[in-house]
Amino acid sequence: MAHSVRRDAPELPDFSLLKRLARDQLIYLLEQLPGRKDLFIEADLMSPLDRIANVTTLKQHDVDKLYKVEHKPIVSTSDQTVRGCFLYPLTNWFLFPDVVNADKAFGRFRRYKIIFSPQKFYACENLLEEQGIFGDVTTDEWSFYLLPLDDDIISLELPEFFRDYFLEGDQRWVRTAGSALHLLHSVYGPFSKVYGIGRCSKMAYESWREQVEEGEQRARQAEIGNVFLIDRDVDLVTPLCSQVVYEGLVDDIFRIKCGCVEFCPDVTSSDKSIKVMLNSQDKVFNEIRNEHFSQVFGFLSQKARNLQTAYDKRSGMDIKQMKTFVSEELKGLKQEHRLLSLHIGASESMMKKKTKQDFQELLKTEHSLLEGFEIRECISYIEEHINRQVSMVESMRLLCLLSLTENGLLPKDYRSLKNQFLQSYGIEHLLTFSNLKQLGLLVEQQPGETLTVMESRVGKLVNDKTAGQIQAGPNTVTVFNTGWVPIPLLYLIQSDEEYDLRVPRDMAYIFSGAYIPLSCKLIEQVLERDGWTGLEEVTRMLNGHEFAVTGKTSGVKTDSQRIILVMFLGGCTFSEISALRFLGREKGLKFIVVTTAITNSARLLESMLDNHA
């Protein structure tokens, strides 16, 4: 697709270096504990660890057995000479299992070491002291901040960031984000310009600056040009929309974990599930990941035909040609064949789910919400959705979208919808509603408040097109009339205009042309304007905290200047990544996405639940 407008896109820096750094440090830490040892790993760290150092590597460094840490006493069968080593994420440091005392209860004493990742808190030691095992264990930290998921995606693997920061007001991870940025800066920097919006971005930026000032400075060839930091709560609408780009859809349905997806038997058309890595190494996936779902089938069948032709070449070959074919091409073809059949399976499975009547109507409602018309119909659709208990998360998602686009629900609707929701899904969601309210995801319209420009934040941006054009001053006009206002959903609701998804003309294609993700639009505008000038109106609506700082490097125009690092604090979706890739192709830029975690509507909302029941 997107027959690339500019072909001179710069090369991306090599991020596998980050992996190597993390691995080397881990190995060093393991070697610090000489002799055979058991490794206990907290469940959250399992997948990331697997991407850094696999079992074979660990075994090479005297790791005897691997255990998964669960919140119950661990009984390992190894004798006392085998040491214990814990890999522990800082996320749950206060839940650290009391192994040593459990061990003592069994009348044994083993040497333990606890490695906290990505950093060790002094408070961790305090806690160990309170448990009375401080002297029995040694602690260390594994500064594993960044996991490159793909050529252009780096994750901090902190799914709890969103809840911890935005809901609980816990600033624990801000410094972690700053340190991650510092790591990138020291390996790939210096950055020439840093833009940001949101309070957390600002704090992360300051934390990073502090760390830069404390450390020594080395002059290096810059590999990254500009940096853009954005808080997730600047744009909460985008992650709540259904994804229709292939990669996003796969994530919505099968859940991609650490760049790896498990396809269930009904996709693999065999009797077992298969784990597949989804990244640019997978040639088939690489070509369809950013495509609108409606285009994927056509592409896949074309691919299948090509593959067949490649296979067919065999027929006319003599022995020598056959030999080279077998030795050179066959393996690649086989591999491609395997992947192709997997993705076709996945597409079929998704097709089954998504082309159903329900899904069409769901999308229709979603898009009506984004455009702000037929609200009453939408509400009754949501009501029906709740009444029929279609899906708790989906119902909640629609409620939140409604609230966000309408700047809160009318008190009457607010009460009745909530009441129905509680009746359907249980009263424990009283707590969930309290969380959603605190975050501003689902709120009640304040009496006497009408929808004016200032009051409706995102809702304003997405639906009030006429107001936008009339009221906006000369500066804002460009923002509001070039696709800022969503182009009506033309593909699903029949209308006069057709949005050609094969040749998308802007980033809106990721939502079938209905809506340009606000986050990506902001990035585009800021990069175009080289700052926030002219966007004052918008930033005020988004609660501000925007900044733009020029770094020390002079304006030498090298290729690296066209590499933009975007850091999402609180997670980003695959759709947004696809949109940025599209933007990059249009403008001859390359975007690197750094995110605290890959998110989607389900993950976002599930993090709001209080699952203590």
Partner: protein, 825 residues
């Protein structure tokens, strides 16, 4: 220049010289008689101890003079950081700083208290300064590093009574050992064993060994027997170097090795009351008479002799000096020196000398020799002469690297300034190179010679961080201890001096001020610290917890905030603690997170304190889910209702009340009918009731909880369909007008694959939904009819899209026609 060789004495191939370093400025009535003297290597300080008078001296400068009050002292020694160790008879080791101020003390073990220390030695190893003692019970105890005290009691020595005749400490193979002689027997004591050894080639086995000396590097050993023989060999007792008969039978007072790196003729210096004997490997000897009580100090490149009135250095003449100054030497350096001398006299002989050097093309060598020799000379005049000659020679060389010359000039400037009698560190160039500038600066700092240290740092262009800043920090640490000055002036003085210096850690200085009990000053100093993270630990230590908390938050480092919070939690009472947190939202939310996982009850207290009824309500609701017993659960929910009411959250209160009602209802049903309903949501309860045919109870719930009609219809519909109770469904459909229309009926039936039943409801569907209903049951024609009737373009298209190639052609045509007419409209 002939006089340069005046104090040279030949020893084998080499020469030895004795240079006077200083005249001693101390006024001792009886010289060094009856004194315990200790001097540190590398030109270090000297201490002497006279009965009950303690005197700390630094060559010329007497730093301290005070009356000794403590118990009898056995041995004195200096540590690597220029602290004085006094080892007392009872095994206590007292540590004093250079100025005689007491620092700390430690003991050499309990056993010593009874048995007393007979002899003690202070030694230096790569691990630091160590102490070794031998007790009255003839047992040795070692401490390798006094800063990391680990006492090691060595095994017993067979047949040893009292103190051994002589002993020494050796450091070999990363292990510290004791070598001791008990008359004729020689033993090596290590951690585990006591091994008898014999030095190879020591004649006269029967003689007893009365003295021994280990070289500065622990590589060589010298033994002195009562027959007057001196045995020299390697310390591992594998090789013998030589044996000399000194013809003196009295046991010597002191014996030390006199070597230098690349020594031609190493020797041992033996001292008796009036005689100093230098015995070389070549069996030659030099004898000096001593006119006063003296002490020898082994150095890296010689021996220092400290007497009552003089301080001298005895060393082998380095080969560079020997080549240049030896009478009638024709070495390149000597010729160059001569050439330069003639040049200064404006004599043409200069050219002759130069030509001679050039002909042999050894000018580079000549310059190198002169530069090197300058380093070995103590007299600035001699240094200058040699350097001038070198620089003269350099002019005739095109590509001679300037670095050695330049750095030698620099080094000499530094050395001469520290050798100055007011400073009194008689360091040789070799020692200086071994010791490094860093250590020299440290030692100047110990002596509080801050200006000189700073000058040297600046002169040598040491990076600020290691140089000037470090010295300034020490200065400031010293400054804050000046008790008589007021806080303001000290803080001001410190900030003015340290203002621009890079890498200063104010927190360290503040910590020192606090140690001296000046909390106010410490706080003032902390204000200058730019990194708030550095301020926090000290503030906590000083019990300024509020300030620490705000600084921690300012730093943005959560770890620090946690640290302060946990500290405060233990320090303050509950109420104050919560009040403190209340003013600091960042800390509060962190603490809440902690409590959520660790201390649920504290969380409740926190909300109570804040009168946060909403959160309290939530808290009770959450707690109710963990509660298994229904009664307890209900009472928790009741508390939640109360809190919600207080929070004026009627909605939540009502919802919770309803939940309680539901729970009670469920319990009743469970008791009556044995259904497991408890804990289900209202919808689930209804569904369960409907599928188990408890229609009456379901109706009751529906009324009691005012379930919307639509919901109830949906519920009943799906429940009936799931049970395949089509009869009941038909009755239900006819009971009254459906609030959700009849399309759901059709869809539900289709979902259960019952098209027959579905058809029954198609006719009841509203006209708008007809098309959909027909399509749902797969009736294309019906759908087409309906669509055409409604003349809706969209619906016709939908029907068309569902048509397949097998569809009746006539129908297709009709649809297309209808669409075009509809479009025209």
């Amino acid at each position: 220049m002939a006089f340069i060789t005046a104090n040279w004495n030949p020893l084998g191939e080499a020469f030895y010289r004795k240079i006077e370093l200083y005249e001693m400025g101390w006024s001792l009535r009886d010289g060094l008689k009856e004194c315990l003297v200790a001097a540190a290597p590398y030109g270090g300080p000297i201490e002497n101890h006279l009965h009950n008078l303690k005197k700390l001296t630094l060559l010329q400068n007497i730093y301290n003079l005070q009356r000794w009050k403590s118990g009898p002292v056995r041995q004195l020694g200096w540590t690597v950081c220029d602290d004085l160790l006094c080892i007392q008879e009872d095994g206590t080791v007292l540590i004093y700083d250079l100025f005689g101020a007491f620092k700390r003390h430690f003991s050499m073990g309990n056993e010593v208290v009874q048995n007393q220390v007979l002899e003690a030695k202070v030694f230096h190893s790569p691990y630091g300064t160590g102490v070794a003692i031998v007790t009255g019970a003839s047992r040795f105890t070692l401490a390798t590093n006094i800063d990391d005290l680990k006492l090691r009691r060595l095994p017993e020595v067979p047949g040893l009574q009292g103190a051994p005749s002589c002993w020494a400490v050796l450091t070999q193979d990363r292990q510290t050992k004791v070598l001791l002689a008990n008359r004729a027997d020689l033993y090596i004591l290590d951690n585990t064993s006591c091994t008898p050894v014999t030095p190879p080639g020591l004649s006269l086995q029967s003689c007893s060994i009365v003295n021994m000396a280990v070289s500065f590097s622990y590589k060589y050993l010298a033994l002195f027997t009562d027959s007057g023989h001196l045995w020299m060999g390697s310390a591992n007792l594998k090789d013998k170097l030589s044996e000399v008969d000194t013809k003196v039978r009295t046991p010597p007072k002191q014996m030390v090795w006199c070597r230098r790196p690349k020594s031609q003729q190493p020797s041992v210096v033996i001292m008796w009351d009036r005689l100093l004997l230098v015995a070389g490997e070549c069996t030659d000897t030099i004898q000096y008479t001593l006119d006063e009580e003296s002490v020898c100090v082994a150095e890296l490149d010689g021996v220092r002799i400290v007497g009552g009135s003089r301080h001298e250095l005895l060393q082998e003449v380095p080969s560079a000096c020997q080549d240049i100054f030896k009478i009638a030497s024709m070495a390149p350096g000597a010729l160059l020196l001569e050439a330069h001398k003639e040049y200064e006299k404006s004599s043409q002989k200069a050219d002759e000398y130069l030509r001679e050097i050039k002909e042999q093309s050894v000018l580079g060598e000549a310059v190198r020799q002169c530069v090197e020799a300058a380093g070995y000379e103590h007299e600035p005049e001699t240094q200058k002469t040699l350097l001038r000659a070198a620089s003269f020679g350099k002019c005739f060389l095109s590509n001679y690297p300037p670095e050695p010359f330049v750095s030698m000039c620099r080094d000499l400037k530094v050395l001469n300034s520290v050798r100055e009698y007011t400073v009194g560190i008689p360091l040789t160039h070799t020692q200086y190179k071994q010791m490094t500038v860093q250590v020299l600066i440290d030692r100047l700092v110990y002596r509080k010679l801050y200006p000189l240290a700073i000058e040297i740092c600046r002169y040598l262009k040491t990076p600020e961080y290691q140089g000037v800043s470090r010295v300034l920090k020490h200065w400031a640490c010293c400054k804050v201890q000046q008790k008589e000055e007021p806080d303001e002036s000290i803080a001001h003085a410190v900030s003015v001096k340290l203002g621009e210096a890079a890498g200063i850690s104010y927190s360290e200085i503040a910590a020192r001020a606090y140690e001296c009990g000046r909390t106010e000053l410490a706080i003032k100093l902390l204000e200058f610290e730019p990194r708030s993270g550095e301020q926090v630990p000290l503030l906590l230590k000083m019990k300024r917890s509020q300030l620490a908390l705000s600084k921690a938050i300012e730093s943005g480092d959560t770890d620090l905030v946690y640290t302060v919070v946990t500290y405060l939690k233990n320090e303050m009472n509950r109420g104050d603690f919560f009040m403190t947190l209340r003013n600091q939202p960042v800390a509060l939310s962190l603490y809440r997170q902690f409590c959520k996982h660790q201390e649920q009850d504290t969380l409740k207290d926190l909300f109570n304190q804040d009168d946060d009824h909403q959160e309290l309500g939530n808290f009770y609701v959450k707690a109710s889910y963990k509660e298994k017993k229904l009664e307890a659960r209900l009472s928790l929910l009741q508390s939640a209702v109360d809190e919600y009411n207080k929070a004026k959250n009627e909605f939540a209160a009502k919802a919770t009340e309803e939940e309680m009602k539901l729970l009670r209802f469920q319990r009743r049903l469970d008791e009556e009918m044995g259904e497991a309903l408890l804990g289900l949501s209202l919808q689930e309860t209804l569904h369960a009731l409907l599928t188990s045919n408890f229609h009456k109870q379901a109706e009751q719930l529906y009324r009691d909880f005012r379930v919307p009609d639509k919901r109830y219809w949906w519920l009943k519909l799906t429940a009936l369909a799931e049970k395949d109770d089509w009869e009941e469904m038909e009755k239900f459909a006819k009971s009254k007008k459906s609030p959700i229309g009849y399309l759901p009926f059709v869809e539900v039936c289709v979902k259960q694959h019952n098209k027959y039943e579905a058809k029954k409801y198609v006719s009841k569907v509203t006209p708008e939904q007809k098309v959909k209903a027909h399509l749902a049951i797969g009736d294309l024609e019906g759908a087409a009819e309906a669509a055409i009737e409604r003349r809706s373009e969209g619906e016709i298209s939908t029907v068309l899209s569902r048509c397949s190639p097998t569809t009746d052609r006539a129908l297709l045509e009709r649809l297309n026609r209808a669409r075009s007419t509809a479009a025209k409209k």
